[in-house]
Amino acid sequence: MRKALLALATLALIPCIAQAAAQPPAAPITIGHYGSLTGSEATFGQSTSNGIKLAIEQINAKGGINGQLILLKEYDTKGDAKEATLAVTRLVKSDKVVAVLGEVASKLSLAAAPVCQEAQVPMISPSSTNPRVTQAGDYIFRVCFIDPFQGLAGAKFATGTLKAMNAAVLIDQAQAYAVGLGEQFQLNYTKLGGKIVSTQTYSGGAQDFTAQLTAIRTAKPDIIYIPGYYTDVGNIAVQARKMGITAPLLGGDGWDSAELAKIAKDAIEGSYYTNHYAPDQPDAKVVQFIADYRKAFGNQTPDGLAALGYDAANILFAAIKNSKSLAGPDLRAAIAATKDFPGVTGNITLNKDRDAEKACVVVELAGDPPQPKYVTTVAPR
C-alpha cells in the first residue's frame, strides 16, 4: 500500500518538474483581481474577469512585459464587503501582487481600497462609478467615468434627445451606487428644465414593485429613471408593462448584463441606459476586441464590464512597461501619468482625482430578444 502511494506521489511530481523546466527564465509578474464571481451580481465579476484574462492572454502571447509573463491571482467576493477586505488583504499581503484590479460594485471597492492604500499597492477599479472610491487615497484609480457625469449624461439624453420633460425616479435605497446616481440624475435633470414628478424607493432583491409603480403611473411621467442593478430592473420592467405603463425606462451601467433581457424579455424593449461602451459601436478597436473576446469565450458578446476589465488590465500593463520598477510608488506614478490611452471604452486620461475622463454611450435595448444598440455618445464636459 505504502509503495503504491509512493509510486503515485512520484508520478504526480513529473508534471510539476516538467512545468518548472518549461518556464521562461524571468519570474512572472503577479497581478491580483477580486470580484463577485458568485452572488446576485455574478455576471459583473465574471465579465470583468474574462476581460482581464483576455488582456493577459494577449500580452503573454506577445512574450509578456520586458520578457516577464503576467500571472493572475483571483478571489471571489460573493458581493460581500467582508469577503472583499479579506480577498484584497490576501492578494496584497500573502500573494504580494504588484497591483490589484477590482471591484465592480462601489461598495466593495470602498471596503477594499484602504487596504491597498495602506500597503502602497496600486488598485485600479474597472467600473466603480461612485465618486468616493478614488478619494480613499492616491493609490486608488479607476478607468470608468463617475456617477455625476453618468447622471448628467442620462439627464441630457432624456431632455435633449427624447424630449421627455417629466420623469419619475425609482431608486434602490439599499445600494450606494443607485442612491448616488439617482441623486445626480435628479440634480441635473431639474437643472436642464425637467420636472421630477415622482420619487419612489425600493430595496434590492424585492419581488413586488406594485406599490411604487402604481404611484408612478398616477404621476404620468414621460420617462422612468431606474439607476439600479439588472436583476431588479428586469422585474420592474415586467411589472410596469403588465400595469400598462408605456413610458420608456432609462438607467445606468448597472443594467449592463445579458441577464436583463433574459429576465424582462420584450418588456425591456425600447428602454435606454447609459453605458461605457456599446458592442455595435462603429470603431475598429471595438470590432477587434469583440472578435477576440468571442473567440476566447465561446461566442459570448462582451458587455461593458468585460470591456472595462480589459481596459483596466491594459492600462496597468502599459504602466508596468513605463514604470521605473515594480515597487508601489513607481508603479503608482506610472499609472497616474496615463494620458489618451486608446481603450475599447474610449480614450482614457486619468485626471488629478485619479478618475477617467471619457465619453458616455447611450444604448437602446431593441429587437427581439432585446439587444443593446448604440444610440449616441455624450462627451465629457
Binding site: Y75, A81, L110, Q173
Partner: protein, 371 residues
C-alpha cells in the same frame, strides 16, 4: 450504556470544579496567544482572518445564550450586532474628530483612541442590550415560528432605518471637520451614519489582542451563565416551558434575561467588527447575516460554547480554503452543512462542551475502564 440525556444532565448537575472553570479561560488565552503569534509571523492576511474568526466566535457564543440555552429562536441577532457596530463606530469616529481633529489611526499600544473604542463598545453593547429587552418582551407570548418572525422583523427594521441616515462627515476634508467641531451636536442631530453606503473610515483599533481578549471574556461569561442557576433555568425553559413553570421558574424574567445578555455580547461583536477595518453597512443587519450566525450555533451544537467557537473557526476558514474550486465552493459548503445535519443532528457537541466529550471518548476506547 447511559443515554445522551442522562449524560447531559449529569454534566450539568456536577458542581463546576476548578479545572472546569479554568479550562475555557486557559483555552481562550492560549488560542488568543497563538492567534497573536500567527498574526505576527504569518503576515497580515492571516491576521485579518483571525480577527474575523474571533468576532464571529463572539457573535455565535452570544446567540447561543438565547437560541441554544434558552431555546428561543431569535433570527435578529445581526440586528443587535449592527446596532452595536454603528454606536461604537460613531463614538470612535466622531470622538476622534473632536479630540484628534482627524479620524486617522493613532500610533501606540494604548492611547485615547483605544479609550474611545472601549467607550464605544460599551455604549454599543448597552444600546443593543436595551433593544434586546424590547425584543425580549414579546417573546413572553410568542413561541417558535412567531418569535422567529418578530426577531426577523427587528433585524429588517434596523437595516431599513440605517439606510435612511444622512451622509457622514468626511474625515479627509478639513472644511467638513471644522464645520463639525464647531457645532458637533447640530451635525450629530441629523444622524450622519452614511445611509446605504455604509459607515467607513473608522480607525482600526481592534487588533487580535483586543478581539481575543473579548472572546475570552465572552466565553467565560457564557460558561458561567450556563453553569449558574440562570443557565439551568434557561435549559429547563428550552426543554419544557410548562414543566419549568411548574418548578417555579419565572419564565418572563429568564427569557428577557437571555435576550438582554445575548444582545449585549452581540453589540460587542458588532463594535469590534466596526473597529477591525471593515465598513459597516446596513446590509449587515439583514437576515442573511443572522442566518450565518444561526448556522454556526446549530453546527456547533445548540447550547455548547466550545462548539460555537469551533464552528465559527470552521465557518470563516472553510470558504477561504475552498477558494481554488471557484464557483463550487459555496455548494460544497452547503453540502457539508447538510451532511453534518444528517450525521450529527445535534451539532458537533450537542449541549456538551469539548472537555466533557474528549475524556469520555478516551474512557470508552480503554478496555475495562468504567464509563
Amino acid at each position: 450504556m447511559p443515554s445522551a440525556l442522562d449524560a447531559t444532565t449529569n454534566a450539568q448537575l456536577r458542581r463546576p470544579n476548578l479545572p472546569l472553570i479554568t479550562l475555557p479561560w486557559l483555552a481562550c488565552a492560549l488560542l488568543g496567544l497563538a492567534m497573536l503569534m500567527l498574526g505576527r509571523f504569518l503576515g497580515s492576511y492571516q491576521e485579518t482572518l483571525m480577527q474575523q474568526v474571533g468576532i464571529f466566535a463572539i457573535a455565535a457564543v452570544s446567540l447561543n445564550i438565547v437560541n441554544g440555552l434558552a431555546g428561543q429562536f431569535s433570527m435578529g441577532h445581526a440586528g443587535f450586532m449592527a446596532v452595536g457596530a454603528y454606536v461604537a463606530a460613531a463614538t470612535t469616529y466622531y470622538g476622534s474628530l473632536l479630540h484628534f481633529n482627524t479620524a486617522e489611526l493613532q500610533p501606540g499600544l494604548f492611547n485615547f483612541g483605544h479609550v474611545l473604542m472601549l467607550i464605544g463598545l460599551l455604549a454599543g453593547a448597552l444600546v443593543a442590550a436595551a433593544l434586546g429587552y424590547l425584543v425580549g418582551l414579546p417573546s413572553l407570548r410568542l413561541r417558535g415560528d412567531y418569535l422567529a418572525i418578530v426577531t426577523l422583523g427587528f433585524g429588517e427594521i434596523v437595516r431599513v432605518l440605517l439606510q435612511q441616515t444622512s451622509p457622514q462627515v468626511n474625515g479627509k476634508d478639513p472644511a467638513e471637520i471644522a464645520a463639525f467641531t464647531d457645532a458637533p451636536l447640530r451635525t450629530l442631530a441629523r444622524i450622519p451614519l452614511n445611509g446605504a453606503l455604509g459607515f467607513e473610515g473608522v480607525p482600526a483599533y481592534a487588533t487580535n489582542l483586543w478581539i481575543w481578549t473579548f472572546v475570552g471574556i465572552t466565553c467565560l461569561a457564557a460558561y458561567r451563565i450556563k453553569e449558574s442557576s440562570s443557565g439551568r433555568a434557561f435549559l429547563s425553559i428550552r426543554e419544557d416551558e410548562i414543566a419549568a413553570r411548574a418548578m417555579g421558574i419565572n419564565l418572563t424574567k429568564y427569557k428577557v434575561r437571555a435576550f438582554v445578555l445575548a444582545a449585549f455580547f452581540a453589540g460587542i461583536a458588532g463594535g469590534l467588527l466596526a473597529h477591525a477595518g471593515v465598513t459597516t453597512s446596513p446590509i449587515d443587519a439583514g437576515f442573511q447575516r443572522s442566518f450565518e450566525i444561526i448556522i454556526v450555533v446549530v453546527l456547533g451544537g445548540l447550547g455548547s460554547i466550545s462548539g460555537a467557537v469551533l464552528a465559527a473557526i470552521v465557518f470563516v476558514l472553510l470558504p477561504q480554503v475552498l477558494h481554488p474550486i471557484k464557483d463550487y465552493r459555496l455548494v460544497i459548503f452547503a453540502l457539508l452543512l447538510i451532511s453534518m445535519m444528517l450525521l450529527r443532528p445535534k451539532g458537533l457537541f450537542g449541549v456538551r462542551e469539548i472537555w466533557n466529550i474528549l475524556p469520555r471518548r478516551a474512557a470508552h476506547t480503554k478496555p475495562g475502564a468504567t464509563p
